[in-house]
Protein backbone atom coordinates (compact mmCIF):
# COMPACT_ATOMS: atom_id res chain seq x y z
CA UNK A 1 0.00 0.00 0.00
CA UNK A 2 2.70 2.37 1.05
CA UNK A 3 4.82 1.41 -1.95
CA UNK A 4 1.93 2.11 -4.24
CA UNK A 5 1.53 5.59 -2.79
CA UNK A 6 5.18 6.37 -3.39
CA UNK A 7 4.84 5.11 -6.90
CA UNK A 8 1.84 7.31 -7.55
CA UNK A 9 3.62 10.28 -6.03
CA UNK A 10 6.65 9.72 -8.20
CA UNK A 11 4.47 9.43 -11.27
CA UNK A 12 2.63 12.58 -10.36
CA UNK A 13 5.87 14.47 -9.88
CA UNK A 14 7.24 13.08 -13.07
CA UNK A 15 4.34 14.54 -14.93
CA UNK A 16 4.05 17.88 -13.16
CA UNK A 17 7.68 18.90 -12.93
CA UNK A 18 8.33 19.33 -16.66
CA UNK A 19 4.97 21.04 -17.03
CA UNK A 20 5.90 23.56 -14.35
CA UNK A 21 9.25 24.25 -15.90
CA UNK A 22 7.63 24.88 -19.21
CA UNK A 23 5.02 27.21 -17.87
CA UNK A 24 7.27 28.97 -15.33
CA UNK A 25 9.88 30.74 -17.39
CA UNK A 26 9.45 30.02 -21.05
CA UNK A 27 11.91 32.70 -22.23
CA UNK A 28 14.66 32.58 -19.65
CA UNK A 29 14.68 34.30 -16.29
CA UNK A 30 15.38 38.01 -16.16
CA UNK A 31 14.36 40.40 -13.44
CA UNK A 32 14.29 44.16 -13.74
CA UNK A 33 14.59 44.64 -9.99
CA UNK A 34 17.62 42.42 -9.64
CA UNK A 35 19.39 43.91 -12.65
CA UNK A 36 18.77 47.44 -11.43
CA UNK A 37 19.86 46.66 -7.90
CA UNK A 38 23.05 45.06 -9.20
CA UNK A 39 23.75 47.96 -11.55
CA UNK A 40 23.30 50.41 -8.70
CA UNK A 41 25.66 48.45 -6.47
CA UNK A 42 28.34 47.88 -9.06
CA UNK A 43 28.01 51.16 -10.93
CA UNK A 44 27.16 49.38 -14.16
CA UNK A 45 24.81 50.22 -16.98
CA UNK A 46 22.00 48.02 -18.24
CA UNK A 47 22.38 48.27 -21.98
CA UNK A 48 21.12 46.46 -25.02
CA UNK A 49 20.62 46.78 -28.75
CA UNK A 50 18.39 49.25 -30.53
CA UNK A 51 17.64 50.42 -34.04
CA UNK A 52 18.40 54.16 -33.95
CA UNK A 53 21.70 55.80 -34.93
CA UNK A 54 22.34 57.45 -31.54
CA UNK A 55 24.60 54.90 -29.83
CA UNK A 56 24.11 56.48 -26.41
CA UNK A 57 20.47 55.48 -26.55
CA UNK A 58 21.35 51.80 -26.20
CA UNK A 59 21.75 52.44 -22.48
CA UNK A 60 18.53 51.39 -20.85
CA UNK A 61 19.25 52.25 -17.23
CA UNK A 62 22.39 53.86 -15.79
CA UNK A 63 21.91 54.17 -12.05
CA UNK A 64 25.38 55.72 -11.72
CA UNK A 65 23.77 59.02 -12.66
CA UNK A 66 22.95 59.06 -8.96
CA UNK A 67 26.64 59.06 -7.99
CA UNK A 68 27.27 61.96 -10.33
CA UNK A 69 24.28 63.82 -8.93
CA UNK A 70 25.61 63.35 -5.41
CA UNK A 71 29.01 64.59 -6.50
CA UNK A 72 27.60 67.64 -8.23
CA UNK A 73 25.08 68.62 -5.57
CA UNK A 74 26.89 67.63 -2.41
CA UNK A 75 30.62 66.91 -2.75
CA UNK A 76 31.41 69.63 -5.24
CA UNK A 77 29.33 72.23 -3.46
CA UNK A 78 31.16 71.55 -0.20
CA UNK A 79 34.66 71.16 -1.61
CA UNK A 80 34.23 74.21 -3.83
CA UNK A 81 32.63 76.31 -1.12
CA UNK A 82 35.26 75.46 1.45
CA UNK A 83 38.17 75.85 -0.96
CA UNK A 84 37.12 79.25 -2.28
CA UNK A 85 35.60 80.83 0.83
CA UNK A 86 38.19 79.20 3.09
CA UNK A 87 41.03 80.62 1.03
CA UNK A 88 39.45 84.07 1.05
CA UNK A 89 39.07 83.86 4.82
CA UNK A 90 42.67 82.75 5.31
CA UNK A 91 43.92 85.60 3.12
CA UNK A 92 41.89 88.22 4.95
CA UNK A 93 43.11 86.92 8.30
CA UNK A 94 46.66 86.82 7.02
CA UNK A 95 46.45 90.40 5.80
CA UNK A 96 45.13 91.56 9.15
CA UNK A 97 47.85 89.74 11.06
CA UNK A 98 50.86 90.21 8.86
CA UNK A 99 49.87 93.19 6.77
CA UNK A 100 51.60 94.05 3.54
CA UNK A 101 55.06 92.57 3.15
CA UNK A 102 57.27 95.63 2.65
CA UNK A 103 60.63 95.99 0.97
CA UNK A 104 62.91 96.26 4.03
CA UNK A 105 65.53 98.40 2.40
CA UNK A 106 62.91 100.74 0.95
CA UNK A 107 62.50 101.32 -2.77
CA UNK A 108 65.80 102.14 -4.44
CA UNK A 109 64.34 103.87 -7.46
CA UNK A 110 66.47 101.72 -9.73
CA UNK A 111 64.78 98.94 -11.64
CA UNK A 112 65.67 95.84 -13.57
CA UNK A 113 63.57 93.91 -16.07
CA UNK A 114 61.81 90.94 -14.52
CA UNK A 115 59.34 89.93 -17.23
CA UNK A 116 59.49 90.97 -20.88
CA UNK A 117 56.51 91.95 -22.97
CA UNK A 118 55.81 88.42 -24.25
CA UNK A 119 55.88 86.99 -20.75
CA UNK A 120 53.55 89.66 -19.43
CA UNK A 121 51.14 89.52 -22.36
CA UNK A 122 50.92 85.76 -22.02
CA UNK A 123 50.46 85.97 -18.27
CA UNK A 124 47.56 88.38 -18.64
CA UNK A 125 45.97 86.35 -21.41
CA UNK A 126 45.93 83.35 -19.09
CA UNK A 127 44.93 85.45 -16.07
CA UNK A 128 42.08 87.22 -17.88
CA UNK A 129 40.62 84.05 -19.31
CA UNK A 130 41.11 82.22 -16.02
CA UNK A 131 39.05 84.81 -14.14
CA UNK A 132 36.15 84.55 -16.60
CA UNK A 133 36.45 80.75 -16.76
CA UNK A 134 36.50 80.55 -12.97
CA UNK A 135 33.52 82.83 -12.41
CA UNK A 136 31.38 81.25 -15.14
CA UNK A 137 32.33 77.81 -13.87
CA UNK A 138 31.44 78.64 -10.28
CA UNK A 139 28.17 80.03 -11.60
CA UNK A 140 27.15 76.57 -12.83
CA UNK A 141 27.46 75.15 -9.34
CA UNK A 142 26.62 78.06 -7.07
CA UNK A 143 24.75 80.51 -9.29
CA UNK A 144 21.34 78.96 -8.79
CA UNK A 145 21.71 79.30 -5.03
CA UNK A 146 23.28 82.75 -4.94
CA UNK A 147 22.54 84.65 -8.14
CA UNK A 148 19.24 83.14 -9.31
CA UNK A 149 17.16 84.33 -6.33
CA UNK A 150 18.57 87.84 -6.76
CA UNK A 151 18.25 88.43 -10.52
CA UNK A 152 15.33 86.13 -11.36
CA UNK A 153 15.18 83.15 -13.74
CA UNK A 154 15.32 84.91 -17.13
CA UNK A 155 18.22 87.21 -16.34
CA UNK A 156 20.00 84.30 -14.71
CA UNK A 157 19.56 82.16 -17.80
CA UNK A 158 20.90 85.01 -19.97
CA UNK A 159 23.95 85.33 -17.71
CA UNK A 160 24.51 81.59 -17.64
CA UNK A 161 24.03 81.18 -21.36
CA UNK A 162 26.59 83.90 -22.16
CA UNK A 163 28.74 82.48 -19.40
CA UNK A 164 28.69 79.09 -21.06
CA UNK A 165 29.66 80.55 -24.43
CA UNK A 166 32.46 82.57 -22.83
CA UNK A 167 33.61 79.51 -20.90
CA UNK A 168 33.80 77.41 -24.04
CA UNK A 169 35.61 79.96 -26.21
CA UNK A 170 37.99 81.37 -23.60
CA UNK A 171 39.25 77.85 -23.05
CA UNK A 172 41.29 78.31 -26.23
CA UNK A 173 43.40 81.34 -25.19
CA UNK A 174 43.71 79.81 -21.74
CA UNK A 175 45.08 76.54 -23.09
CA UNK A 176 47.39 78.30 -25.53
CA UNK A 177 48.70 80.49 -22.72
CA UNK A 178 49.39 77.48 -20.52
CA UNK A 179 51.49 75.93 -23.29
CA UNK A 180 53.42 79.19 -23.81
CA UNK A 181 53.96 79.48 -20.04
CA UNK A 182 55.41 76.01 -19.99
CA UNK A 183 57.82 76.88 -22.80
CA UNK A 184 58.82 80.24 -21.28
CA UNK A 185 59.21 79.36 -17.62
CA UNK A 186 59.61 75.61 -17.15
CA UNK A 187 63.42 75.85 -17.13
CA UNK A 188 63.35 78.31 -14.20
CA UNK A 189 60.82 76.26 -12.28
CA UNK A 190 62.62 72.96 -11.92
CA UNK A 191 62.61 72.13 -8.21
CA UNK A 192 66.07 72.24 -6.61
CA UNK A 193 68.01 72.20 -3.35
CA UNK A 194 67.28 75.85 -2.62
CA UNK A 195 63.57 75.11 -2.55
CA UNK A 196 63.97 72.80 0.44
CA UNK A 197 65.79 75.59 2.29
CA UNK A 198 63.09 78.01 1.26
CA UNK A 199 60.37 75.81 2.69
CA UNK A 200 62.35 75.22 5.90
CA UNK A 201 62.54 78.95 6.47
CA UNK A 202 58.86 79.33 5.71
CA UNK A 203 59.46 81.46 2.63
CA UNK A 204 59.51 85.22 2.64
CA UNK A 205 55.87 85.51 3.52
CA UNK A 206 55.39 83.44 6.65
CA UNK A 207 58.94 83.22 7.94
CA UNK A 208 61.43 85.89 8.88
CA UNK A 209 64.22 87.01 6.58
CA UNK A 210 64.62 86.08 2.94
CA UNK A 211 65.94 82.70 1.94
CA UNK A 212 68.19 82.47 -1.11
CA UNK A 213 66.27 82.35 -4.34
CA UNK A 214 66.95 82.23 -8.03
CA UNK A 215 64.45 83.54 -10.56
CA UNK A 216 61.55 81.78 -8.90
CA UNK A 217 61.30 80.71 -5.28
CA UNK A 218 59.67 77.50 -4.15
CA UNK A 219 56.29 79.17 -3.59
CA UNK A 220 56.26 80.56 -7.09
CA UNK A 221 57.35 77.23 -8.48
CA UNK A 222 54.37 75.67 -6.78
CA UNK A 223 52.02 78.19 -8.34
CA UNK A 224 53.67 77.54 -11.69
CA UNK A 225 53.20 73.79 -11.55
CA UNK A 226 49.68 74.08 -10.14
CA UNK A 227 48.85 76.33 -13.08
CA UNK A 228 50.52 74.21 -15.74
CA UNK A 229 49.54 70.75 -14.51
CA UNK A 230 46.14 71.83 -13.22
CA UNK A 231 45.59 73.80 -16.42
CA UNK A 232 46.44 70.73 -18.48
CA UNK A 233 43.99 68.63 -16.46
CA UNK A 234 41.14 71.11 -16.81
CA UNK A 235 41.92 71.62 -20.50
CA UNK A 236 41.85 67.90 -21.33
CA UNK A 237 38.76 67.17 -19.21
CA UNK A 238 37.11 70.36 -20.48
CA UNK A 239 37.60 69.53 -24.15
CA UNK A 240 36.14 66.08 -23.56
CA UNK A 241 33.04 67.87 -22.28
CA UNK A 242 32.98 70.48 -25.04
CA UNK A 243 32.84 67.70 -27.61
CA UNK A 244 30.27 65.35 -26.11
CA UNK A 245 30.28 61.73 -27.27
CA UNK A 246 33.44 62.19 -29.32
CA UNK A 247 35.17 59.08 -28.11
CA UNK A 248 33.42 59.30 -24.76
CA UNK A 249 30.26 57.81 -23.33
CA UNK A 250 28.17 59.14 -20.50
CA UNK A 251 30.32 57.52 -17.77
CA UNK A 252 33.48 59.06 -19.25
CA UNK A 253 31.83 62.46 -19.35
CA UNK A 254 30.71 62.15 -15.75
CA UNK A 255 34.30 61.34 -14.79
CA UNK A 256 35.65 64.20 -16.92
CA UNK A 257 33.26 66.58 -15.22
CA UNK A 258 34.31 65.38 -11.76
CA UNK A 259 38.01 65.89 -12.55
CA UNK A 260 37.33 69.22 -14.25
CA UNK A 261 35.30 70.58 -11.36
CA UNK A 262 37.56 69.40 -8.54
CA UNK A 263 40.80 70.56 -10.15
CA UNK A 264 39.16 73.87 -11.04
CA UNK A 265 37.99 74.78 -7.54
CA UNK A 266 41.37 73.83 -6.08
CA UNK A 267 43.10 75.95 -8.74
CA UNK A 268 40.81 78.87 -7.99
CA UNK A 269 41.78 78.66 -4.32
CA UNK A 270 45.51 78.53 -5.18
CA UNK A 271 45.22 81.41 -7.63
CA UNK A 272 43.40 83.53 -5.04
CA UNK A 273 46.55 83.22 -2.95
CA UNK A 274 48.66 84.13 -5.97
CA UNK A 275 46.53 87.20 -6.70
CA UNK A 276 46.83 88.26 -3.06
CA UNK A 277 50.63 88.15 -2.99
CA UNK A 278 50.87 89.79 -6.38
CA UNK A 279 48.69 92.72 -5.37
CA UNK A 280 47.87 93.88 -1.84
CA UNK A 281 50.00 91.28 -0.10
CA UNK A 282 53.46 92.45 -1.07
CA UNK A 283 54.99 95.81 -1.87
CA UNK A 284 56.65 95.97 -5.26
CA UNK A 285 55.39 92.59 -6.46
CA UNK A 286 52.77 93.81 -8.89
CA UNK A 287 55.35 95.72 -10.97
CA UNK A 288 56.83 92.44 -12.11
CA UNK A 289 53.73 91.69 -14.15
CA UNK A 290 52.64 95.35 -14.49
CA UNK A 291 55.45 97.27 -16.08
CA UNK A 292 57.78 94.31 -16.03
CA UNK A 293 60.35 96.46 -14.19
CA UNK A 294 60.97 95.66 -10.54
CA UNK A 295 62.82 97.71 -7.97
CA UNK A 296 66.34 96.48 -7.41
CA UNK A 297 65.85 96.33 -3.64
CA UNK A 298 62.74 94.22 -4.03
CA UNK A 299 64.58 91.95 -6.41
CA UNK A 300 67.56 91.59 -4.08
CA UNK A 301 65.38 90.70 -1.14
CA UNK A 302 63.17 88.19 -2.89
CA UNK A 303 65.40 86.79 -5.62
CA UNK A 304 68.95 87.55 -4.53
CA UNK A 305 70.76 85.02 -6.71
CA UNK A 306 68.79 85.89 -9.82
CA UNK A 307 69.32 89.63 -9.22
CA UNK A 308 73.06 89.23 -8.88
CA UNK A 309 73.09 87.32 -12.14
CA UNK A 310 71.04 89.98 -13.91
CA UNK A 311 73.05 92.91 -12.57
CA UNK A 312 76.26 91.25 -13.70
CA UNK A 313 74.87 91.13 -17.20
CA UNK A 314 73.26 94.54 -17.33
CA UNK A 315 73.26 97.38 -14.77
CA UNK A 316 69.96 98.60 -13.36
CA UNK A 317 68.25 101.54 -14.98
CA UNK A 318 67.37 104.77 -13.16
CA UNK A 319 69.56 106.95 -10.92
CA UNK A 320 70.51 105.56 -7.52
CA UNK A 321 68.51 107.17 -4.74
CA UNK A 322 66.00 108.69 -7.12
CA UNK A 323 62.33 108.31 -6.35
CA UNK A 324 60.56 105.35 -7.87
CA UNK A 325 59.21 106.09 -11.29
CA UNK A 326 55.44 106.17 -11.45
CA UNK A 327 54.16 102.97 -12.99
CA UNK A 328 53.60 103.27 -16.68
Amino acid sequence: MRALRYLLLALALGITVPALAQQGTPRGVVSAEELEAAALRQGGIIAGRHTIPDAAQANLIQPEGKAWRDFHNVTLAWVGGIAVLGMLGVLIMFYMMRGKVMVHGGMSGRTITRFNLLERANHWMVAGSFIVLGLTGLNLTFGRHILLPVVGPYTFTAISEWGKIAHNYLSFPFTLGIVVMLLLWAKDNIPGRLDIEWFKKGGGLVGKGHPDSKRFNAGQKMIFWITVLGGAAVAVSGYLLIFPFMGTDVSDMQLAHIIHALVSVLMIAAILGHIYIGSVGMQGAFDAMGSGQVDVNWAKEHHNLWTAEQLAKRPASGAPGAQAKPAE
Binding site: A47, G48, H72, T157
Partner: protein, 198 residues
Protein backbone atom coordinates in the same frame (compact mmCIF):
# COMPACT_ATOMS: atom_id res chain seq x y z
CA UNK B 1 -4.36 63.92 -8.18
CA UNK B 2 -2.91 60.97 -9.95
CA UNK B 3 0.74 60.07 -9.83
CA UNK B 4 1.48 59.46 -13.51
CA UNK B 5 3.97 56.75 -14.45
CA UNK B 6 4.99 54.57 -17.35
CA UNK B 7 5.29 50.82 -17.07
CA UNK B 8 6.63 48.61 -19.84
CA UNK B 9 5.61 44.97 -19.61
CA UNK B 10 8.69 43.54 -21.28
CA UNK B 11 7.09 40.11 -21.62
CA UNK B 12 4.57 41.64 -23.97
CA UNK B 13 6.71 44.11 -25.91
CA UNK B 14 7.37 42.81 -29.42
CA UNK B 15 9.78 45.61 -30.37
CA UNK B 16 7.51 46.95 -33.10
CA UNK B 17 8.58 50.55 -32.36
CA UNK B 18 5.06 51.86 -32.83
CA UNK B 19 5.40 53.88 -29.61
CA UNK B 20 8.54 55.51 -31.00
CA UNK B 21 6.81 56.34 -34.26
CA UNK B 22 3.66 57.59 -32.53
CA UNK B 23 5.72 59.92 -30.34
CA UNK B 24 7.75 61.25 -33.25
CA UNK B 25 4.63 61.95 -35.26
CA UNK B 26 2.45 63.35 -32.50
CA UNK B 27 5.01 65.93 -31.40
CA UNK B 28 6.83 66.43 -34.69
CA UNK B 29 10.04 65.51 -32.93
CA UNK B 30 12.99 66.54 -35.11
CA UNK B 31 15.53 64.19 -36.62
CA UNK B 32 18.12 62.91 -34.21
CA UNK B 33 15.94 63.32 -31.13
CA UNK B 34 14.36 60.28 -29.56
CA UNK B 35 11.97 60.97 -26.76
CA UNK B 36 11.18 57.28 -26.65
CA UNK B 37 13.15 54.28 -27.80
CA UNK B 38 13.00 50.51 -27.60
CA UNK B 39 16.04 48.71 -26.22
CA UNK B 40 16.48 44.96 -26.45
CA UNK B 41 18.61 43.33 -23.79
CA UNK B 42 20.15 39.86 -24.12
CA UNK B 43 19.45 40.06 -27.84
CA UNK B 44 19.30 36.56 -29.34
CA UNK B 45 20.07 34.94 -25.99
CA UNK B 46 17.94 33.41 -23.26
CA UNK B 47 16.30 36.15 -21.27
CA UNK B 48 15.88 38.45 -24.26
CA UNK B 49 13.48 41.29 -23.49
CA UNK B 50 12.54 44.46 -25.30
CA UNK B 51 11.74 47.49 -23.21
CA UNK B 52 10.25 50.74 -24.42
CA UNK B 53 11.94 53.52 -22.50
CA UNK B 54 11.46 57.27 -22.20
CA UNK B 55 11.62 59.80 -19.41
CA UNK B 56 10.16 58.03 -16.37
CA UNK B 57 9.11 61.25 -14.63
CA UNK B 58 11.10 60.23 -11.58
CA UNK B 59 10.31 60.87 -7.96
CA UNK B 60 12.84 63.43 -6.69
CA UNK B 61 13.97 63.81 -10.29
CA UNK B 62 17.77 63.76 -10.73
CA UNK B 63 17.60 66.06 -13.77
CA UNK B 64 15.84 68.74 -11.73
CA UNK B 65 18.28 68.32 -8.87
CA UNK B 66 21.36 69.07 -10.97
CA UNK B 67 20.06 71.65 -13.47
CA UNK B 68 22.24 74.75 -12.95
CA UNK B 69 19.44 77.10 -13.97
CA UNK B 70 16.68 75.20 -12.12
CA UNK B 71 14.42 75.06 -15.16
CA UNK B 72 12.47 71.92 -14.20
CA UNK B 73 9.12 71.78 -12.50
CA UNK B 74 6.74 69.00 -11.53
CA UNK B 75 3.05 69.16 -12.39
CA UNK B 76 0.21 68.22 -10.04
CA UNK B 77 0.20 64.80 -11.75
CA UNK B 78 3.91 64.38 -10.87
CA UNK B 79 4.98 64.84 -14.49
CA UNK B 80 8.50 66.28 -14.76
CA UNK B 81 8.61 69.15 -17.27
CA UNK B 82 11.13 71.85 -18.10
CA UNK B 83 11.18 75.38 -19.47
CA UNK B 84 13.10 75.57 -22.73
CA UNK B 85 13.30 79.35 -22.47
CA UNK B 86 15.48 78.87 -19.39
CA UNK B 87 17.53 75.81 -20.43
CA UNK B 88 21.12 76.63 -21.40
CA UNK B 89 21.85 73.24 -22.93
CA UNK B 90 24.62 72.36 -20.53
CA UNK B 91 23.99 68.60 -20.61
CA UNK B 92 24.00 68.13 -16.84
CA UNK B 93 20.52 66.58 -16.80
CA UNK B 94 21.78 63.98 -19.26
CA UNK B 95 24.67 63.10 -16.94
CA UNK B 96 22.32 62.64 -13.99
CA UNK B 97 19.38 60.97 -15.73
CA UNK B 98 19.32 57.19 -15.18
CA UNK B 99 17.37 56.62 -18.40
CA UNK B 100 19.23 58.71 -20.97
CA UNK B 101 16.04 60.69 -21.49
CA UNK B 102 17.34 64.23 -22.13
CA UNK B 103 18.16 64.83 -25.79
CA UNK B 104 19.88 67.67 -27.58
CA UNK B 105 19.16 68.95 -31.06
CA UNK B 106 22.83 69.64 -31.77
CA UNK B 107 25.78 67.69 -30.49
CA UNK B 108 29.41 68.60 -30.51
CA UNK B 109 29.42 72.20 -31.71
CA UNK B 110 31.71 73.55 -28.95
CA UNK B 111 29.25 72.50 -26.30
CA UNK B 112 26.44 74.23 -28.17
CA UNK B 113 23.91 71.47 -27.71
CA UNK B 114 20.79 73.60 -28.04
CA UNK B 115 17.80 73.41 -25.73
CA UNK B 116 17.24 70.08 -24.04
CA UNK B 117 14.28 68.05 -25.27
CA UNK B 118 12.67 65.07 -23.60
CA UNK B 119 9.42 63.20 -23.18
CA UNK B 120 6.76 65.48 -21.73
CA UNK B 121 4.31 62.68 -20.94
CA UNK B 122 2.31 64.41 -23.69
CA UNK B 123 1.83 67.29 -21.26
CA UNK B 124 3.49 70.14 -23.19
CA UNK B 125 5.38 72.77 -21.26
CA UNK B 126 4.99 76.00 -19.33
CA UNK B 127 3.39 77.86 -22.26
CA UNK B 128 -0.37 78.23 -22.56
CA UNK B 129 -2.02 74.80 -23.02
CA UNK B 130 -2.22 73.73 -26.67
CA UNK B 131 -1.04 77.09 -27.96
CA UNK B 132 1.00 77.28 -31.16
CA UNK B 133 4.17 78.17 -29.24
CA UNK B 134 3.69 75.30 -26.81
CA UNK B 135 3.34 72.89 -29.71
CA UNK B 136 6.47 74.20 -31.44
CA UNK B 137 8.57 73.97 -28.30
CA UNK B 138 7.21 70.86 -26.61
CA UNK B 139 4.69 69.15 -28.88
CA UNK B 140 1.09 68.21 -28.22
CA UNK B 141 -0.55 68.56 -24.82
CA UNK B 142 -2.82 65.55 -24.62
CA UNK B 143 -2.97 65.66 -20.85
CA UNK B 144 -4.68 69.05 -21.05
CA UNK B 145 -7.26 67.39 -23.29
CA UNK B 146 -7.82 64.63 -20.76
CA UNK B 147 -5.96 62.00 -22.78
CA UNK B 148 -3.06 59.75 -21.86
CA UNK B 149 0.30 59.66 -23.69
CA UNK B 150 -0.09 58.47 -27.26
CA UNK B 151 2.72 55.89 -27.14
CA UNK B 152 0.89 53.84 -24.51
CA UNK B 153 -2.53 54.49 -25.98
CA UNK B 154 -1.62 52.93 -29.29
CA UNK B 155 0.64 50.10 -28.12
CA UNK B 156 -0.74 47.11 -30.00
CA UNK B 157 0.11 44.52 -27.34
CA UNK B 158 -0.64 46.88 -24.46
CA UNK B 159 2.86 46.27 -23.20
CA UNK B 160 3.40 49.95 -22.55
CA UNK B 161 1.09 51.28 -19.87
CA UNK B 162 0.63 54.90 -18.89
CA UNK B 163 -1.55 56.32 -16.18
CA UNK B 164 -1.79 56.53 -12.45
CA UNK B 165 1.05 54.54 -10.92
CA UNK B 166 -1.09 52.47 -8.56
CA UNK B 167 -3.54 51.61 -11.30
CA UNK B 168 -1.00 50.43 -13.86
CA UNK B 169 0.92 48.55 -11.17
CA UNK B 170 -2.28 46.70 -10.30
CA UNK B 171 -2.91 45.83 -13.95
CA UNK B 172 0.64 44.55 -14.25
CA UNK B 173 0.41 42.48 -11.06
CA UNK B 174 -2.81 40.88 -12.26
CA UNK B 175 -1.16 39.95 -15.53
CA UNK B 176 1.81 38.44 -13.76
CA UNK B 177 -0.29 36.35 -11.41
CA UNK B 178 -2.51 35.15 -14.26
CA UNK B 179 0.22 34.14 -16.69
CA UNK B 180 2.70 33.16 -13.96
CA UNK B 181 5.75 35.16 -14.98
CA UNK B 182 6.99 38.68 -15.49
CA UNK B 183 10.36 40.38 -15.52
CA UNK B 184 9.21 43.28 -13.37
CA UNK B 185 8.57 46.96 -13.92
CA UNK B 186 11.67 48.21 -15.71
CA UNK B 187 13.15 51.32 -14.21
CA UNK B 188 10.74 51.51 -11.30
CA UNK B 189 13.36 50.70 -8.73
CA UNK B 190 15.59 53.46 -10.07
CA UNK B 191 12.89 56.04 -10.81
CA UNK B 192 10.42 55.53 -7.99
CA UNK B 193 12.41 53.49 -5.46
CA UNK B 194 9.80 50.79 -5.53
CA UNK B 195 9.23 47.47 -7.27
CA UNK B 196 6.17 45.78 -8.68
CA UNK B 197 6.37 42.05 -7.95
CA UNK B 198 7.53 40.17 -11.04
Amino acid sequence: MARMKFLCDADRCIECNACVTACKNEHEVPWGINRRRVVTINDGKPGERSISMACMHCTDAPCAAVCPVSCFYTTADAIVLHDKDLCIGCGYCFFACPFGAPQYPRVGNFGGRGKMDKCTYCAGGPQEDNSRVEYTQYGANRIAEGKLPLCAEMCSTKALLAGDGDMIATIYRERVSKRGYGSGAWGWRTAYRMTVGG
